[in-house]
């Protein structure tokens, strides 16, 4: 306990030492937590520096032909003259985008000034001529999801190697590495996949659930690493993951699943016509909720951390350096606490995404073995998830159950 306390005091004092440097480096910018949480076309290793990431554009040029433009970074894209930084039209006193395209040479000085200021990294690039079809530029979150995928790949290929050698197959698992990950795998299999998908279906979806769980978990945790970024705090990335769940759900939907969506049984005709749109909407709200839940939770945690750190600068800026020093220990103590909370949330959100995916897939693949006796068995769990009137209650319950853990970290 004494050691822990001493360590805490040291960390807080380090804040006092670090504050002047941070204040000095950040004195001209406003500290913007949203900007730091958002995606970008560079890796941020401040105060060491920033690394620009390649810019790749699938674009249609002025002649209408489709081509791919590849640049080493945003700066080289700007210097090439083929792309310009989009300017805010409301500030009419600055040079217009059209003018820039026409007078490339006159603009060159501006481009160098922009690059020198470092602001070009945050600029939205538009082609000088033609239009971008899809911007395939490598972003920070893409790099970190690649990194996450790589880490997951390395961990589990190594783990699989151990099992292939017979360690854990014929003998007990050995070592922290194998025991730790085996525990998680068995947890996903026995407490997530099997209860939600049933004994006959779980094997088919277990690889997906394991992949999505560990990918999200590693991405979440990478966000807590210094200089790291949270790929899962990007709505695009969480949407992709949710889309995978959506396709797994719909492709494997049983006959009963589709029947309940398009022709809910045991209902008066009029109610059926009310329910069908609701059910169709339900197909999409589930994955959308998945995507937004993960995104919002991961973003919120980082915004809280950055805002707490930002308090130092805010106080320093408003009331002078002394106030900055004064706030630093409190701020760092809270940041430490939220960081620890974030570790918990990293696990919780990976778990929630996985268990809800399992639940949605499980609801879709479930088949009613006694279709003729549905009246008698209207309150079976499977029927509850699928049935018409109970379906609304069931879905509502599922939604509230989802909200509870989702809300918990936000509080």
């Amino acid at each position: 306990m004494g050691k822990l306390f001493r360590a805490l005091v040291i960390i807080l004092l380090m804040g006092l030492i670090g504050t002047p440097a941070a204040l000095a480096s950040g004195e001209d910018d406003d500290f913007d937590p949203v900007h730091h949480t958002a995606d970008g076309y560079y890796l941020d290793f401040q105060p060491i520096g920033k690394v620009e990431l390649p810019r790749i554009f699938l674009m249609r040029d002025a002649n209408g032909s489709i081509g791919v433009d590849f640049f080493g970074g945003t700066a080289s894209a700007l210097r090439s003259g083929r792309y310009v930084a989009e300017v805010d039209e409301s500030h009419g006193d600055e040079a217009h985008e059209g003018d820039a395209a026409e007078t490339g040479h006159a603009q060159a000085g501006d481009v160098e000034a922009l690059i020198a200021s470092g602001a070009h990294l945050d600029a939205h690039l538009v082609p000088a001529a033609g239009s971008v079809i899809i911007d395939f530029s490598i972003t920070r979150h893409l790099i970190f999801s690649l990194l996450g995928a790589g880490i997951v790949l390395i961990i589990f290929l190594r783990l699989a190697g151990r099992y292939k050698r017979g360690i854990g197959r014929e003998t007990a698992p050995q070592g922290l590495f194998q025991n730790l990950f085996e525990t998680l795998i068995v947890f996903i299999r026995d407490d997530v996949a099997r209860p939600n998908l049933g004994d006959e279906h779980y094997k088919k979806f277990l690889p997906y659930l394991l992949t999505v769980f560990f990918f999200i978990l590693v991405c979440n945790l990478l966000g807590l690493v210094p200089f790291g970024a949270t790929a899962t705090s990007n709505l695009m990335i969480t949407s992709v993951l949710a889309t995978f769940t959506f396709f797994f759900t719909q492709i494997n939907g049983s006959k009963d699943h589709w029947k309940h969506v398009f022709w809910p049984p045991d209902m008066p005709i009029l109610v059926k016509f009310l329910l069908i749109p609701t059910e169709i909407m339900g197909l999409f709200t589930k994955p959308i909720a998945l995507a937004i839940r993960l995104f919002a939770n991961m973003t919120a945690g980082h915004l809280v951390i950055l805002s707490l750190v930002g308090l130092i600068f805010t106080f320093g800026g408003l009331f002078g350096p002394i106030a900055g020093y004064g706030v630093a220990p409190v701020s760092i103590a809270f940041t430490l606490f939220v960081n620890l909370l974030e570790i918990l949330i990293a696990f919780i959100q990976a778990y929630i995404f996985t268990i809800l995916s399992a639940l949605f897939i499980g609801m879709a693949v479930a088949e009613h073995s006694h279709h003729d006796h549905e009246h008698e068995h209207a309150h079976e769990p499977a029927a509850l998830a699928h049935g018409t009137a109970p379906a609304i209650i069931g879905d509502g319950a599922a939604e509230t159950a989802e909200q509870a853990p989702a809300l918990a970290p936000a509080s």
Binding site: D39, D88, A123, A160, R169, F215, S239
Partner: protein, 169 residues
């Protein structure tokens, strides 16, 4: 120059979607083929082995218990048999000894009876012999007396007195 910031929290970046879709799909395929397959099959193998081992252990335990119970019963039976044999032997021994004693007693009785008879017979013969001896002695005495002139009546009286004085037996 006020530039438009490219990145905000909610901007739609379809390039990223496509990239991540490909990455995640590859991750899923590679892991499914080379990681989850071997791992889950290994886990299932191990669980099956453990389950079977436990079943076998349980069966072995049940067998051992059965064996122990059998042994216990056999031992008890053997013990009972031994006790029964011992009891029988003792009874037999008792019976035999009783018989022996009875026989001996009878033999002793028989011998005693024989001896009694013998003694009786010896006594009778002895008495007879004595009687004859006495008569002879008497006659010799009488002769002596006669030789000393005793009259006949006196002699007779003497002899008869003498005989009367003799014990009857």
């Amino acid at each position: 120059m006020k530039i438009i910031i490219a990145a905000d929290l909610l901007n739609a970046n379809f390039g990223l979607v496509i990239w991540l879709g490909i990455i995640f799909l590859l991750l899923l395929i590679i892991l499914k083929r080379y990681a989850w397959g071997p791992i889950t099959s290994a886990l299932e193998d191990r669980e099956r082995t453990i389950g079977e081992s436990m079943q076998q252990a349980e069966k072995a335990l049940a067998e051992a218990r059965q064996l122990q119970a059998d042994n216990e019963r056999a031992r008890r039976e053997a013990e009972q048999e031994a006790q029964r044999l011992l009891r029988d032997a003792r009874e037999e021994a008792d019976r035999l000894r009783g018989e022996e004693v009875q026989k001996t007693r009878e033999a002793i009785q028989h011998m005693r009876d024989q001896a009694q008879d013998e003694i009786e017979r010896e006594k009778d013969s002895a008495l007879d012999a004595l009687r004859a001896e006495v008569a002879d002695l008497a006659i010799q005495a009488a002769e002596k007396i006669l030789q000393t002139n005793l009259d006949a009546p006196s002699q007779r009286r003497l002899v008869e007195n003498f005989i009367d004085d003799l014990p009857k037996n």
